[in-house]
Every structure is written in C-alpha cells, then in structure tokens.
C-alpha cells in the first residue's frame, strides 16, 4: 500500500513537471503554430537561475527568478527572432531548433557539463507520511504548483480579454486581426507565459531531481512533446490529464517492470494513442466516403 501511495504521488509529481512544460508548448502551438524547440532550453535556463540563487537568497526568490528568466528569455525570442519570420512558419521552427542547440551548449560552456547539485531548503527536503508512505515533500510542491497553474491558466483563458483573444486566435488568427485586435501582442504574451512556466518547471525539476544539468531541459522537453500530442494542442485540460497519465505510467512501469522501461512506456503509450487516433480518422474517412 505504501509503495502504491509513494509511486502514485511521485508519478503525479513528475506529471506535474510535464504539465508545466507541456501547457506552455501547447498554448504556443495552438495560437501560433510554432513548435518551440527552444522550450527545453528555457527549462534549463530556469533551472540554472534557481541553482545560482539557492543558498544565497530565500528559495521563493530563486523560484521567482527562474520564472522571470524563462519569461524574459521567451519574450525576447518571440519578439526578436520569431516575429520577423511569420511568413515563414517552417523557418520559425528552425530558428527555435538553433536556439535549442546553442543555449544549452552556452550553459554548458559557462557552468560545465556535469550536473550541479541543487540543495532545496529544509522545508522541501523532508518527507511527509501519507498512509504509511514517506513521500518527499517536493512531490506535493510540484503537484500543488501544477494545480495552481492549471487553475490560473483556466481563469486567464476564460475571464480575461487576453484569454479571449488567445482562445479566438487558436481558432482563427486572421479573423481576430480583422476585428481590430493586434494578435501579435497575444503571441508575445503567450510565449512569455510559456517561458515563465518552463522556468518554473526548471526550478522545480531541479528540486525533484536534486540537481541541474545543461541537457535536463531538452530531455524533459521530449516528454513535454509526448504529453502535448496525447493531450491535444491548445487544450489545457487534455494536457493536464495526459501529463498525469504519462507521469504515473512512467513511475509504475519503472517500479514494477524494469527501471528505465518507464520512459519507454511513455513513448509506447504515445504510439498506441496515435494508432487509435489514426484508426478513428481512417474510420471517419471511410464513413464519409461511404456516405
């Protein structure tokens, strides 16, 4: 029983991390059709910002700095590099690929290739007893952060004018501009939000794994992709569910099957979902053809 609880909460913690990464990716893609390959680099940037400040300043400040780093970097990337390429969607992706290569390498050049230990403050380092299981506190922090982010995102999307613009833009960008709205402001905003969440994910991921390393963000990004594809682009709820599912499956497989198989299982789930989706599309097409 206690194993089950521990596995569940750890899996959800991991899922929370994925959600923080994937929700930003999915928003960006939904609104702008841009696959942000530099998203992993933003995670890494956030992680290193937190790592630099932990121990010197209160941990909350380190987290805030990580969020700010991600947001500012993302806004810069959008305005300086992505924006001039709106007529060349594929090149936008290529530019983020270039950044995704260069930024982690830059981090590696400055702080070295080895993982750096991130010492979480004492309040986060301990464990909490739940139903006989000693669950590390950081799992709860991650889960809570994800829930807060999910709620905030939903409020933002449903209650604010910018949220309205974003939701409308996901459906039809051109019509949004034809209503006299500068949709590019929404682009920058969404990119910054995604960057902020990536920065947060970097900092909390550093706590979860106990260390930060230059390619941490990029390896997390892969699972961010898996989650986005399973959950659906531009769908915050779907992404949240998919993130939880992938995190849980990974943890359980790692424990009950073999260590390391969990990552593999996540990709296998992706394949299954794609197959099911492909078949459903195929079935729909068949029905359409028959009709």
């Amino acid at each position: 029983m206690s194993t089950l609880v521990l596995l569940t909460l750890t899996g959800l913690g991991l899922g929370a991390l994925y959600f923080l990464i994937a929700s930003g990716l999915s928003l960006i893609f939904g609104l702008m059709d841009v696959l942000n390959f530099a998203h992993g680099a933003l995670v890494t940037a956030g992680a290193y910002a937190a790592w630099r400040l932990t121990g010197h300043l209160p941990f909350a400040v380190a987290i805030a700095a990580a969020i700010a780093t991600g947001a500012v970097l993302a806004a810069l990337i959008e305005t300086v590099l992505i924006r001039p390429l709106y007529s060349r969607p594929k090149d936008q992706i290529l530019v983020t690929v270039g950044l995704g290569l260069a930024l982690p390498a830059l981090v590696q050049g400055i702080w070295g290739a080895d993982a750096r230990q991130l010492r979480a403050p004492r309040q986060l380092a301990g464990t909490v007893s739940v139903l006989g299981a000693k669950v590390p506190t950081d799992r709860f922090v991650l889960i809570a952060a994800a829930i807060v982010v999910l709620a905030a995102l939903k409020l933002f999307l449903s209650r604010t004018r910018y949220g309205l613009v974003v939701r409308a833009g996901v459906e039809d960008r051109a019509m949004v501009t034809a209503l006299g709205i500068d949709v590019r402001k929404a682009f920058t905003l969404v990119f910054a939000i995604g960057g902020a969440l990536a920065g947060l994910a970097g900092a909390l991921g550093g706590v979860y794994f106990g260390s930060v390393s230059p390619d941490q963000g990029t390896s997390l990004l892969v699972f961010g992709f898996v989650v986005v594809v399973i959950g659906g682009m531009g769908r915050t709820d779907g992404v949240a569910l998919a993130a939880a599912a992938v995190g849980l499956i990974q943890q359980f497989t790692n424990y009950y099957a073999a260590s390391g198989l969990g990552d593999f299982a996540a990709v296998a789930i992706l394949a299954v979902v794609l197959l099911a989706r492909g078949n459903r599309d195929g079935a729909r097409r068949l029905i359409r053809r028959a009709a």
Binding site: L164, M175, T177, A178, L179, G180
Partner: protein, 275 residues
C-alpha cells in the same frame, strides 16, 4: 468617396488573382461588388482589409491605408463580416461579441440586441452550435457593434434558407441607413433592393461600374457579366472560373462587344420580386 482602390493587385500561390482593381465606394448607401464565382470578390475584400499581400493604393476616408496592418485598418472604422462568417465556434455568442468590442468606440449593444433579439437569449451558447443564419447574425452584429465608417459584408446570404435571407436583407437594409456598406452578394434580387452602385469583377479586373439598376435592366449584360439571368430569393451560383491567363482580355472583350450569350435565360422574370 469613403473607400478608393487604385490598381490593386494580388498574387496568391503564384497566380495573379487581382490584376489591377480600381473602384470606389460611395460615402452613403450600399455599393455592390458583383461577379461570377471565383473572379476575386472575396480576394478584393481581403485586400482592402490587408488579409492578403497586395500592391496598389487603398484610401479609406481620404487616408492611405495600404501600408497598415489589418488591425490598424480595422481600427480606422471598418466592420467586416467575412464570407464564411468566421464566428469563433468554441466561444459563446456573448464572447464573440465581446471580442469584437473595439477600444475607443461606443458599443451599440442596444442596436444589436434590438436587431437580433436571439443573440441575447442565446448569449451563453457556443457560436459553433448556432444555425447558419444565426451565425450570420453574429457576424453582422460584430460589424454593427462599433462606430464604423464602413462595413464590408461578403456574401451574407450564401447557403441560407429563403426565409433567413429575407431576415438578413432587412437587417442589412437597416444597417445601410446608418453606415455605408460594401456588399458582395450573388442574390441579385437582394442587390437590386439594397444597392445603389455596382462594381462588376471578371477575372480579377473591374469590367463594369455604375448604378445597379441600369446593369440589372440589361438582361444580356447581366447574363454575361454575372452568369445569371434570374434570382428568386436564393443564390444562383453558376460554377465558372476565369480563363487561366488571357482571361481578362476575354472578359473585357465581352463588355465591349456585347455578344449575345449562348444561352439566354427567361427574360426578366425575376426583376420585380425582392425577397
């Protein structure tokens, strides 16, 4: 003239869709933009709004706007109801309207809800679940919500049932009392009822300008330019396409020569009945 186009050209996907379109829109009443399917009416409208890359000059209210971006053009006071309505399917009716609210403009909800009481009662419904007619109401309501100096409506009756066409026509008529309108429409009965001037496109060029009444009075010309001889409260859409290249000269030749059409439709049976 509230809107003037001078030598507007558009190339899309390698084909020259508009080949130098020039015309102007009167500061009052309805100007109809006519032409067979695929001649470039929608493209012209999009060119005005900056939704397609174009060259040439476009003046709105006396100021050049062809260098501005779409949202800047719109903020100068254009309301646009696009061909496919383009309501945001996943947003509610209220949200669709709220999104259309422009800063620096009064929001005429009273007028909108007076014209379309249904939009108030269905405020919480997702716009995608509305009928085609109701979606068109949302699209038109969006243009009436703000203080516009021009509204541009692209085929508002396309695919609507005759009864709904009548409703739309009534609303457009009321709207036209308040603000000048550029109307793309295939329903000639409706055009006859609403429009003063007409501009006819063929193969990406203007082939005729002038009062709509005179144009529609000439059955042969109507048949040739618009490919329709009758309109009975419904869309008569003949599927034709401009000839790939030399098409424009061909179309012009028709205007000059006024050759009799191959098939003459029953003359004038429809002229008098408006929807």
């Amino acid at each position: 003239m509230i809107l003037e186009l001078d030598d507007v050209r558009v190339t899309l996907g390698g084909s020259h869709i508009l080949q130098g379109v020039s015309f102007s829109v009167a500061p009052t009443g309805v100007t109809a933009l006519l032409g067979r399917n695929g001649v470039g009416k929608t493209t012209t409208v999009k060119a005005i709004l900056g939704l397609v890359p174009r060259t040439g000059r476009i003046d709105f209210g006396g100021d050049p706007v062809h260098r501005l971006r779409t949202h800047e053009i719109v903020r100068r006071g254009i309301g646009y109801a696009p061909e496919d309505r383009c309501v945001f399917a996943k947003l509610t009716v209220t949200e669709n309207l709220a999104l259309a609210e422009r800063r620096g403009s009064a929001h005429a909800y009273d007028l909108v809800y007076e014209l379309f009481p249904e939009l108030k009662t269905r405020g919480a419904q997702a716009a995608g679940t509305l009928s085609g007619g109701q979606q068109q109401m949302v699209a038109i309501a969006r243009t009436l919500l703000n203080d516009n100096r021009l509204i541009v409506v692209d085929e508002p009756t396309k695919g609507l049932a005759p009864k709904v066409v009548t409703e739309v026509a009534e609303v457009l008529e009321r709207a036209a009392e308040r603000v000048p309108m550029l109307l793309v429409e295939q329903n000639l009965a409706l055009v006859r009822r609403l429009a003063g001037d007409g501009v006819v496109l063929a193969a990406g060029q203007v082939v005729h300008c002038g009062p709509v009444r005179e144009l529609l009075a000439d059955a042969a010309l109507t048949q040739e330019l618009l490919g329709v001889g009758q309109a009975r409260g419904e869309n008569v859409t003949l599927y034709t396409r401009p000839a790939p290249s030399g098409g424009s000269t061909h179309a012009l030749a028709i205007v000059k020569d006024r050759q009799p059409p191959d098939e003459v439709s029953p003359p004038e049976s429809t002229r008098s009945d408006a929807p």
